[in-house]
């Protein structure tokens, strides 16, 4: 077909020039002369991991917790070995905890645990948080322990456990079992278990379990009382 109109030729040339300009901009960004990147980049992540946290002195910790010096030493050595920077973030926490449950998925339960240990809600568990939590669980009275467990279940920290919260917790516990169980894991198992739980614990049948109901029901239950004794000899 015939010759092209001049404007078409010009158009093509414009397109070409635009292309050249774009690619040269890209090239300069690549070479580092200009910066076209988006605001949130990975450099921010580096800030967190270089933070180093030093715990309070051992004497203070000894006063505040019920551990002996030697026990604190052992705990700290293990803690620092895994987290050289002195704090655990949630990812690390989940990784460490998952090593104990190779068959199932413990990430959800680890998340709840993290929330329970991280008392000051700053997104990381320092050695003090760690040791305070452990002190309650391993050296506290039965009431203290029950309190701590209630705190774990109460996801939104409003003083009462709803069925949904309990279901989340139950699912996370069942997830840790994994697929290969005997008998086969039914999908309804967590829900049934929650029903069971509420039947036992919910005195006034209002659909939530308050702290008083919880402690009262646990104290009445022989099995729970006995299992709470297990924690006396963990460390």
């Amino acid at each position: 077909g015939g010759a092209l109109e001049t404007w078409e030729v010009e158009g093509l040339q414009t397109v070409g020039i635009l292309l050249v300009v774009c690619s040269s901009l890209k090239l300069m960004h690549f070479l580092g002369l200009i910066d076209l990147s988006s605001p949130d980049s990975i450099e921010d992540d580096f800030e967190l991991s270089t933070v180093c946290h030093r715990p309070e002195s051992m004497d203070k910790l000894q006063e505040q917790t019920k551990f002996t010096k030697k026990e604190l030493q052992v705990l700290y050595r293990g803690f620092k070995n895994e987290c050289p920077s002195g704090v655990v973030n949630e990812e690390n926490f989940k990784t460490i905890y998952s090593q104990f449950f190779p068959q199932g998925d413990s990430s959800m339960y680890a998340h709840f645990l993290f929330e329970a240990f991280d008392t000051d809600k700053n997104g990381s568990v320092s050695f003090e948080d760690f040791v305070f939590g452990l002190s309650i669980i391993l050296r506290g009275t039965i009431n203290d322990r029950l309190n701590w467990a209630f705190n774990l279940y109460d996801l939104n920290k409003d003083g009462c456990i709803t069925k949904e919260e309990m279901l989340d917790i139950m699912k996370s516990i069942y997830d840790m079992m994994g697929k290969c169980t005997y008998p086969n894991m039914q999908d309804e198992a967590p829900r049934e278990h929650v029903e069971n739980f509420f039947q036992k614990m919910d005195r006034n049948k209002d659909g939530v379990v308050t702290i008083e109901e919880f402690i009262e029901s646990c104290q009445k239950d022989e099995n729970i009382m006995q299992s709470m004794q297990l924690f006396d000899n963990v460390i």
Binding site: A3, L4, E8, V9, L12, Q13, V15, G16, I17, L19, V20, K70, V74, L75, R77, G78, F79, N81, E82, I96, Y97, Q99, F100, P102, Y109, F112, L113, F130, G133, L134, I137, L138, R145, L146, W148, A149, L152, Y153, I169, M170, I173, H193, N196, F197, F214, C218, E222, N223, I224, Q226, S227, M228, L230, F231, N233, V234, I235
Partner: protein, 632 residues
Amino acid sequence: MAGVSAWLPFARAAAIGWMPVANGPMPVAPRDHSKRKDELIVLNVSGRRFQTWRTTLDRYPDSLLGSSEKEFFFNEETKEYFFDRDPDSFRSILNFYRTGKLHYPRYECISAYDEELAFFGIIPEIIGDCCYEEYKDRKRENVERLQDDQEENKDLKLPNMTARETMWRAFENPHTSTMALVFYYVTGFFIAISVLTNVVETVPCGTSTQQKEVPCGERYTVAFFCMDTACVMIFTVEYLMRLFAAPSRYHFMRSVMSIIDVVAILPYYIGLVMTDNEDVSGAFVTLRVFRVFRIFKFSRHSQGLRILGYTLKSCASELGFLLFSLTMAIIIFATVMFYAEKGSSSTKFTSIPASFWYTIVTMTTLGYGDMVPKTIAGKIFGSICSLSGVLVIALPVPVIVSNFSRIYHQNQRADKRRAQKVQKARLARIRIAKTGSTNAFLQSKRSGLLDELLELTGTEADEQKLSKSVSLLESQHYHLLYCLEKTTAHEFVDEQAFEQNNLETALQSYTSPSPSPSSSHGESTSTCCGCRARRKNTPPYHHHHPQRGPLQELSAIHIQCVDPASHKTSRSSLNQKAEDGGRVNCRRGQVTTAIISLQTPPRRPPPPPIPPQAPPSIQTMSSSHIVKVSAL
């Protein structure tokens, strides 16, 4: 899990969340009865002391340090665990316990490191990602080198091979025999001839009657046909012979070289079969192209070609990447050029595929000039195209080159090692070292016997002198060899004596076994406990001493009376020429010394004071009372 075992108390504490929801009672927890507090243990590795907590080591209970196996290395006096290993490598092993990650130190030799890991019961697979690549690379290099060594050892192989195996070996390695070398050169020559023929066939030589240039192939058809036939026959014979000699015919037929051989000779046979059919003659012409494959047969003759082929094979991914990136770039630039040049009149860029040619020629910086852009946009893009072409091609090339260089150098090393001179010298040195130890054993046998002599005489000083020369380890080793000799009723001798024996048994006949040996044979069954008497079936030539010429034997008495300095001289003369062992004939505890005469230094010793009954006869050994000590 082991790395985080310190967090186990935490995990157990976290189980508090399960207690209230559990429906039944929990099992009883295990109690820690050991009451073993976390203690420091000291690991002494060749003098360098490492200290760590016991719990650190307990993290990995299936390794040596984590299990009770380390108790075998516990030193009661110093209360530490002593390991006689390399302290430098131990550092990385201990760090593994501490951090849970095993690192491979780059300065370490790969086989030494592997040995250390094996000793401490750690599998190398858990080397951390940071060091695993390096480890794998070094290991692969080492394995390749060992394979080279093994292959070259295979060549110096068995003398008893069947004809088939000999033929195969001759084919694979032409340096093994002259016939193989001749065959190698003949086939090489014919390959060259065949390739040359194919090339010259197409050269125009002279005009025919129609004033047209004809190629030589059509002019001298018969000559070329004969040449072709000859070559193909040689190749066919060679192929059939290889097929016959191959240890696994199936594998041989599937190998690349054999396929090349077949492809090289097949066109000829196909041509023979269908010369007259006009329709397929076109296909036949195409088949002739395959004759050029004969040039690949040279790869058997040239190692460089083989290496090149191997390199290309091992760089397949890089080549693939190169091809892929080039294709991408070609399509992009061809499209752009086509649309840029669409405007100009009488343009050569008629379609995108037509632009491919321009793009390829420009990217490889060939620039034939048969297609050039005329518009400004086209020129701009054309220059970008040529610049990027240089980059895209230059990127994968160094990878291929470095691969080639590594493989090539490895082959060079293998060739150097195979070089006869080096090999022979090395083997000779190894042989000397080995015979040194054998001679040491044989020497000690004599001195061992003399130890007993001395025990009977009670000369303390001499006994001490002798016992110093051999360490406890060596003496135990020699005792072991001695026991073996006794078990099998044979003796160790050194090479020269062995050859000599063979020579003599061949020369002399087993005639007239003199009465003394037989009687000695009979008597030698009564071995006494006090001496290391052993029975030996001596070949009768022992008693033909006078015919053997100058004997060089070592005087046992000599050994007794002279200091260790002359030990050495006697030993050296021993090495030169010595006869095969004698018999030790022991009779009721009386050990008589051997009488052996030295040829060169005629230091005739006084008759031995110990044995009361032994006549110091010099040359003959006919007496049954005489104990013959092996002079070797």
